[in-house]
């Protein structure tokens, strides 16, 4: 299958390339990028031509956290629906956290997931294995074997590790095989039953609070353990200004860490929870505007390496509950791109730079190919109309998760075509 993508605004965040050009795809690879007909590869006869006039052509998006809800949580979403939704969001590679039911803690589960995903259209799926058995924080998983089965990293998702001895040994053991560990800094006790930032809104509404030290105490512990063990640690879903500052200082000291934030935390704050909107019940909680601004600053100065959707489809019944009883999380794969564009627009960040956080930088964190436009590289591409306005609603979201703080709101930028491995896996 040869595809000729004509006349799009071709943006490669990794190289900084940003101009109107044609992209030539053959046998799953990019075989040419050029501004004139003479740049076409020799004897290239397209089976299909995509007119990309008015569209941006960028690397397929790379998402560090997409809950596909399989195995075991098919009442909330299925592999098939969420793979399709991810493709509809322009995502061509994704990492899925281990908080399935049962958790991804055995090689058989990883093999099954990879096998199932491979046989349906949609992004490349990179499972993240459980760091401890059943995510209980007690016994290590067979990391080496899980890695062989396809796990790219190990994590606890949102489950706590109470026992810091186990945490220390898990990092040491992972380091033995040089396996990356992705952890969301979260103290085992502080704010354990909390659902909202410990700030002005929770003071008003009486929502059980999650104080900032819930994040920073755990983060400080992790940073010390990274110094001690030399383990490759990625810090997931930072939410507070204090945490961004800790990471900034640690990076300045040369600690080999990376970190990410969820896209909702780039935009929203505790203010959005002020009417008990359960769609704004997220983990970690939306914090103050100061915290949100610190996250934006951390992205601008490179402290934060990547932005992810933290896609968490939740069924309607579990959101139609009082805030503190509702299931946390928001659907995200179809909002990652428009919300990234919105952030770029609001902060004046060049488009190519903003897209970097959801393409090559995220791929670098994951340690997987993709996320860039390179002749000879895989043809994972996202073609989107940066000017198309669309309203977020149950009808416009392909994901089975209709849970979004953005329901009813207009966003700009919509994916038109997604190519994965040279296949046109999605078009609108």
């Amino acid at each position: 299958m040869k595809i000729h993508i004509r006349n799009g605004r071709v943006i490669d965040p990794a190289s900084g390339f940003d101009q109107t050009a044609d992209v030539y795809v053959a046998a799953g690879h990019i075989v040419g990028i050029g501004t004139s007909a003479s740049d076409a590869p020799k004897d290239f006869h397209a089976n299909q031509t995509l007119d990309a006039s008015g569209l941006a052509v960028c690397p397929g998006l790379v998402d560090l956290a997409v809950r596909l809800r399989e195995p075991g949580q098919e009442h909330m979403a299925t592999l098939e629906t969420e793979m399709h939704a991810a493709a509809a969001g322009g995502i061509t590679s994704l990492a899925c956290p281990p908080d399935t039911d049962p958790p991804l803690d055995e090689p058989g589960l990883i093999e099954m997931l990879k096998f199932r995903a491979k046989n349906m259209p949609g992004p490349r799926v990179y499972p993240v294995g459980a760091l401890t058995a059943k995510l209980k924080g007690e016994r290590l998983t067979e990391m080496a074997e899980l890695h062989e089965a396809g796990c790219i990293a190990f994590s606890q998702a949102d489950a706590r590790i109470e026992n810091t001895e186990v945490l220390l040994r898990a990092l040491e053991y992972a380091k033995t095989f040089d396996l990356p560990v992705w952890l969301r800094p979260q103290d085992a006790w502080i704010g354990r039953n909390g659902v909202a930032h410990d700030g002005v809104v929770s003071a008003r509404l009486g929502l059980p609070p999650v104080p900032v030290p819930a994040e920073t105490v755990a983060l400080s512990t992790l940073l010390l353990l990274v110094r001690e063990t030399g383990a490759r640690v990625h810090l997931a879903r930072l939410s507070s200004r204090a945490a961004v500052e800790l990471v900034r200082a640690a990076k300045r000291d040369g600690l080999p860490i990376t970190c990410d934030v969820g896209i909702h935390h780039v935009h929203l704050s505790e203010i959005d929870t002020a009417d008990f909107n359960a769609h704004c019940h997220l983990i970690p909680p939306l914090r103050s505007l100061r915290d949100r601004d610190a996250i934006r600053q951390g992205l601008a100065d490179g402290t934060i390496d990547a932005v992810c959707s933290d896609h968490t489809p939740v069924d309607e019944d579990m959101k139609a509950l009082p805030f503190q009883e509702s299931e946390a999380g928001a659907t995200g794969v179809e909002l990652l791109l428009p919300l990234t564009l919105k952030w770029a627009k609001e902060t004046g960040l060049p488009l190519a730079q903003a897209l970097g956080f959801i393409t090559h930088r995220a791929a670098a964190v994951m340690g997987v190919p993709g996320g860039n436009l390179r002749v000879g590289g895989p043809a994972d591409l996202c073609l989107f109309d940066p000017a198309e306005d669309w309203k977020v609603s149950a009808a416009t979201l392909a994901s089975l998760g209709k849970n979004s703080p953005w329901l009813g709101r207009e966003l700009q930028g919509r994916v038109r075509y997604t190519l994965i491995d040279g296949h046109l896996d999605f078009k609108r």
Binding site: R204, G206, A274, F276, F323
Partner: protein, 319 residues
């Protein structure tokens, strides 16, 4: 903020009573005035009126509270309404029915008003957002968030004994962190123009950003009570008396319990209020609770009039 429009109609009348936050002073005052009209001049007897004849009021209590439910029931009966008491905590919820399913079912039973008590903050808002348009929702306490009729009856009591709000210094003493009563009191006091609202508690019983509510924080009761016109005591829940927030009921009593000696620091004509039920010897000394400055029993009587006012303004179509 965003909670206001939900409880007001487009032309600014009260549709639901969910929280006192964001309600304009004119509505709060109107409720207090209406309550006053139900009380005989002696301040004790409450008249029976036919304002809600033929209306069905459902007390929907997802969390048990015999006392609050009873005052709503009495208030509804004084308005000549039909009252149905439902203790949901022990029925459908435990059978797995969702909150909104329960509400939909009750709506179909020709209800005009739901009086809702729930253990989770925001439950009354959720219900108000999902009921049929003709049904009014009164929040009878949701989690730690709000207890608006309690806040209103406290305002009534203050106004009754002190006349006005603009020259009052009020201290709220106790577990503010977990208290829906305190939140409603604070919103009402700041809206009604009380110039100095104090909260008095150890740091462990205060929300981190409590100052943002417009209150002054005093950790020591000796300073917090100085020259106040009213002391609003809060109940300390049994399960909070020993743990990470407080070492013991005894130490709490020693440092934050209201004793006659501490009360002397307040103005000589200061009144003492308590939402009940009281823990004598924990947050309040019996000599104070039964003393001449306590107005705890009048609070209960006023509570009925205030709840009558709220229900009649909502369902009587004259708000």
């Amino acid at each position: 903020m965003m909670s206001t429009p939900l409880q007001l109609t487009d032309d600014g009348r009260l549709k639901h009573l969910l929280t006192l936050e964001g309600l304009p002073a004119r509505i709060l005052t109107h409720i207090l005035d209406t309550a006053q009209s139900f009380i005989a001049p002696d301040g004790k007897e409450i008249r029976k009126v036919p304002l809600l004849r033929g209306k069905a009021i459902f007390n929907v209590f997802f969390e048990n509270s015999t006392r609050t439910r009873t005052t709503f029931e009495i208030a509804a009966k004084r308005l000549s309404a039909d009252v149905v008491n439902l203790n949901i905590g022990t029925s459908s919820q435990s059978k797995g029915e969702t909150l909104l399913d329960t509400v939909a079912n009750l709506s179909a039973m020709q209800a005009d008003m739901f009086v809702v008590r729930h253990a989770s903050a925001g439950a009354a808002h959720l219900i108000a957002r999902n009921v049929a348009p003709h049904i009014h929702v009164v929040n009878a306490g949701d989690g730690r968030a709000a207890h608006p009729t309690q806040g209103l009856l406290d305002m009534y009591t203050l106004r009754h004994f002190k006349g006005a709000f603009h020259n009052l210094r009020v201290a709220i003493v106790g577990d503010v962190l977990h208290s829906r009563v305190a939140r409603s009191q604070i919103h009402a006091l700041t809206t009604l123009g009380c110039p100095e609202v104090r909260v008095v508690a150890p740091r462990t019983l205060l929300p981190r950003d409590v100052e943002s509510l417009g209150v002054h924080v005093f950790e020591r009761i000796e300073e917090g009570l100085k020259d106040v016109d009213a002391v609003l005591m809060l109940r300390l829940q049994n399960e909070r008396m020993q743990g990470a927030r407080l070492p013991s009921a005894g130490e709490y009593y020693k440092h934050w319990g209201l004793t006659p000696d501490k009360l002397k620091l307040a103005r000589p004509d200061a009144i003492v209020m308590h939402p009940g039920p009281m823990n004598r010897g924990v947050e309040i000394d019996s000599a104070v609770a039964d003393g001449t400055q306590a107005v705890i029993l009048p609070q209960v009587t006023f509570g009925i009039a205030v709840r009558m006012a709220v229900m009649s303004l909502l369902a009587g179509g004259q708000a």
